[in-house]
């Protein structure tokens, strides 16, 4: 390594001390419980360490980019949109998105009259096949409790003000179906390609806490 340019560069920015990234402390109670159960199940040959690693790879391969692709296609292809609203899972499978957890998917269309919001009050049910892992706030108790008791206040904290004339529908995802919000297509996107449209669709818009982003330059 002659020119240690990258290293020096990184070092210049490393003026703030922070904790070493690593497991240096004693594991917590649940960490130990998880390790013990995992090792026991592997020892008893219910599954292998490789299968656990593989499942983590399955989860890691799912990101909100998949959901954004689905939304962008629905915005540009009315037939696909109709199929998506009729059977979310089958329409996603058309695009090659598999449902490794064998859940069904209901896609909820936001309109001028209805705004949809997704929550799982029991735990963290989430459309993982199309969005990946949920954000931490989605799994935290304040969101889970407040989304069903005062959804409009929760939405307002995300900056989303829903007029009283618009019906708010909160979908508590608790059993075998997962939900995905189809946000409204932003104005000023006529002629956009699917890729351009997909770039406007965020994870949070597909949970229903915010609308899809407006294109650059469209903001007042």
């Amino acid at each position: 390594m002659s020119g240690s340019h990258d290293h020096d560069h990184a070092h210049d920015h490393h003026t703030h001390p922070h904790a070493e990234v690593g497991a240096t402390g004693r594991p917590g109670y649940y960490d130990m419980l998880e390790t013990a159960v995992r090792e026991l199940l592997i020892e008893k040959k219910y599954f292998s360490a490789g299968e656990i690693r593989r499942q983590i790879e399955v989860l890691d391969s799912r990101t909100p980019a998949l959901g954004a692709k689905v939304v962008a296609k629905a915005w540009t292809d009315p037939d696909f949109k109709a199929r998506l609203l009729a059977n979310g899972r089958a329409a996603c499978e058309e695009l090659g998105i598999s449902f490794y957890d064998d859940t069904q998917l209901i896609v909820l269309e936001n309109t001028d009259a209805v705004h949809n919001l997704i929550v799982c009050t029991l735990c963290s049910c989430y459309p993982r096949p199309v969005l990946g892992l949920p954000p931490d706030w989605y799994k935290a108790k304040p969101y889970r409790a407040r989304a069903v008791t005062e959804p409009r206040a929760v939405l307002a904290e995300f900056g989303t003000i829903i007029p009283d004339a618009v019906e708010v529908r909160v979908h508590d995802s608790t059993a075998m179906v997962r939900y995905l919000v189809l946000p409204m297509r932003p104005k000023g996107t006529d002629g956009f390609t699917e890729e351009q449209l997909a770039a406007l669709v965020t994870r949070d818009a597909m949970i229903g806490v915010i609308p899809a982003n407006e294109p650059e330059g469209a903001r007042a």
Partner: protein
């Protein structure tokens, strides 16, 4: 999602269907989410027990009861899940929002009863 006329079509053919094969609640039906507290795994949130709502739609196909599946019993009898719509004002008497705001939840057939 559901073929809402399956019951009528099979009846027209003179078919005898198995117990639990066809949905027993139709879209639009008024139902109460049962108020019970079983021991073990359950999926019906407490805040919805005893609440009255409307069947929004029938979820096809029939599915295993999550409560049984929680104990590894993932085969055998299957029944329908229903999407139930409950007004938020029905759940929270002091709800602040628009009167049409609603809660939608999927509930297994064994947790629903007809409201006369």
């Amino acid at each position: 999602m559901a073929d809402q006329s399956l019951n009528e079509k099979s009846a027209a053919l003179g078919l005898v269907t198995a117990t639990g094969e066809l949905p027993i609640f139709a879209p639009g039906a008024r139902v109460r989410i049962k108020d019970r507290t079983p021991i073990g795994h359950y999926r019906v949130p407490h805040y919805l027990r005893g609440r009255v709502g409307k069947v929004d739609s029938i979820i096809e196909p029939v599915a295993v009861d999550n409560e049984e599946e929680g104990y590894g019993r993932n085969a055998g009898a299957k029944l329908h899940y229903y999407r139930i719509a409950v007004p938020l004002t029905e759940i929270w008497p002091d709800y602040v929002g628009a009167p049409r705001d609603g809660l939608y939840v999927e509930v297994y057939e064994t947790w629903l009863e007809t409201v006369p």
